[in-house]
Subunit: 171 residues, 2 copies
């Protein structure tokens, strides 16, 4: 599977991964949310090679996650700003950070704290149900095909009709 094919998959996760699902892109986006805007800023903050950084920024602009806007004439210079589509990635970023805060911290504790301006407290992000407001967990969620689901065509050869599977002696 190539990167572009991912975006055609009938799966919102695969499509999203096609846009942001690589190491450097995610780190670049972290910097965006930390207010980095310029090429040199990203490069020095991340230590990414200039070549890849240029690639990734181009891709994010193409995808509408970042907008490239001039901030200076002669020499022409641009900065990279999150679009609304980009800002909407915030829950993904926070979810990633929170998992790291929970499972990957060393003895010293969290590298960063997040303070909610509205309530003034240091907080954790919690994912809740839009309908009832309860926190979500995988077990309480049932998944079923939506209108954009792949038609129930089997890719496999049609002679593979679910033969009763042999069960060996269990462990």
């Amino acid at each position: 599977m190539k990167w572009d094919e991912l975006e055609e998959e009938p799966c919102s996760m695969a499509r999203t991964i096609g846009v942001i699902g690589d190491r450097w892109t995610l780190l670049i986006l972290r910097e965006c949310f930390l207010r980095t805007r310029r090429f040199e800023g990203f490069q020095s903050a991340l230590g990414i090679t200039r070549h890849l950084l240029a690639e990734r920024l181009k891709k994010l602009v193409r995808q509408g996650v970042l907008r490239r806007i001039p901030y200076q004439e002669s020499p022409k210079r641009h900065e990279y700003i999150l679009t609304q589509k980009g800002l909407d990635l915030y829950p993904i970023m926070m979810a990633i950070v929170h998992w790291g805060d929970t499972h990957m911290v060393d003895v010293r504790g969290r590298p960063l704290l997040h303070e909610h301006r509205k309530c003034g407290k240091v907080f954790d992000p919690v994912m809740v149900c839009s309908e009832c407001g309860e926190p979500l967990s995988a077990k309480e969620v049932h998944v079923h095909p939506g209108p954009g689901a792949r038609p129930a065509l089997e890719k496999a050869s049609p002679d593979k009709k679910a033969k009763p599977k042999s069960r060996r002696k269990a462990a």
Copy 2:
């Protein structure tokens, strides 16, 4: 930067990316949440090469995201089950899916719908503040160093003392 270095960074996002921040790992985890457990299951669902799949599964087991448990003796066979650490990735997965549902669907609509068993409704995940319960957006959050932050050592040579930056004529 190599993959292992990522995990040493004083940033929960970088560390998390070190664990799950690549295309195939994310897709493998999607399958895990869709109840896939076995090698062949992952392989045929994803079309990933067997070589990479083996690598990635090993890594996820090493990281404590999956547990490898025997389900059959002779020939020994194992299945891969999400640990609690793995289950805790759920908000990340849901956030990714939701962004795709919002920004990457075609005319036909969403490939998958999620139903919350507790309230019985099709829902969207919403990220809220653990303290006040309000939905979060990037602008309302202030970030500051926590106990595990990198000490304020400059990596750069010490003679770089924030000279007043030249400002060219603005655009």
